[in-house]
Amino acid sequence: MVRAFGLGAMLFGVWLLLSGHYTPLLLGFGVGSSILVVMIAMRMDVVDHEGVPLYLVPRVLAYIPWLLLEILRANISVARIILHPALPISPIMVHFQASQKTDVGRAIYANSITLTPGTITTGVEGSELEIHALTWADIDGREEDEMDRRVTRLEQGI
């Protein structure tokens, strides 16, 4: 029930930001459509621990700045490779062991890897991730291990 209210509040918050009209009639439409979406989501049985991970929201907000910095760094290194006259790439497929326990944690880790240019998650088999990297240096393990640790901490709330 808390999740349903949380989802409704988030939907209505997004509606308020996107609409910008605050007359009683339009606010009523916004409340009505938020409730309708929550009811459909409950009928679809997606309002659960995994579909609405409210407990993750503050921790994800703390994780995003670090991730953006990492994305900036990876972008600069890929830009340097692209502009290099010899195009020094050495593409490679590697398998990584993800240390996250839940599917939500693994999804966050896999998506973070894909978001940083230079590495793409091409497959997930249990807790094993298949990753395509642009160069050897992209996958030397330092950034990925750090990211793995941070996502595991985020998932467990330590």
């Binding site: 997004v14 930001l17 972008n75 890929v78 692209i82 593409p91 896999a110 998506n111 978001l115 497959g123």
Partner: protein, 107 residues
């Protein structure tokens, strides 16, 4: 104050355009679909992101600025999914990843 905001916003937009152009060059220079995805990923994370940040400086502290940042947030959520889907489709379609020792294929 306005001039500082303008400079910040133009710097961000110019940076975003730089990453967009470099990403496009990368898509043309890279040898296969997987390496091209790496280059294309640059345009929607940093390219679009920096342009949206620049536009946010132009918008000032209004609702429009919040909406621009929401656009970027949705981009960051959806971009890895489409990239992953493309790479996975190529893999199950049997496209062999390019390797450096296949010298003949290098552009």
């Amino acid at each position: 104050m306005a001039i500082v905001l303008d400079i910040l916003s133009w710097a961000a937009i110019a940076g975003g355009l730089f990453f967009m152009v470099v990403g496009a060059i990368g898509v043309l220079r890279m040898p296969d679909v997987y390496t091209r995805l790496h280059a294309a990923g640059m345009t929607d994370t940093m390219g679009a992101g920096l342009i949206l940040i620049g536009l946010t400086f132009q918008a000032g502290p209004t609702l429009v600025a919040v909406r621009l940042m929401l656009v970027w947030a949705f981009l960051l959520f959806t971009n890895p999914i489409s990239t992953h889907a493309l790479a996975r489709a190529a893999l199950s379609g049997g496209v062999e990843p390019f390797r450096v020792d296949m010298e003949g294929d290098k552009p």
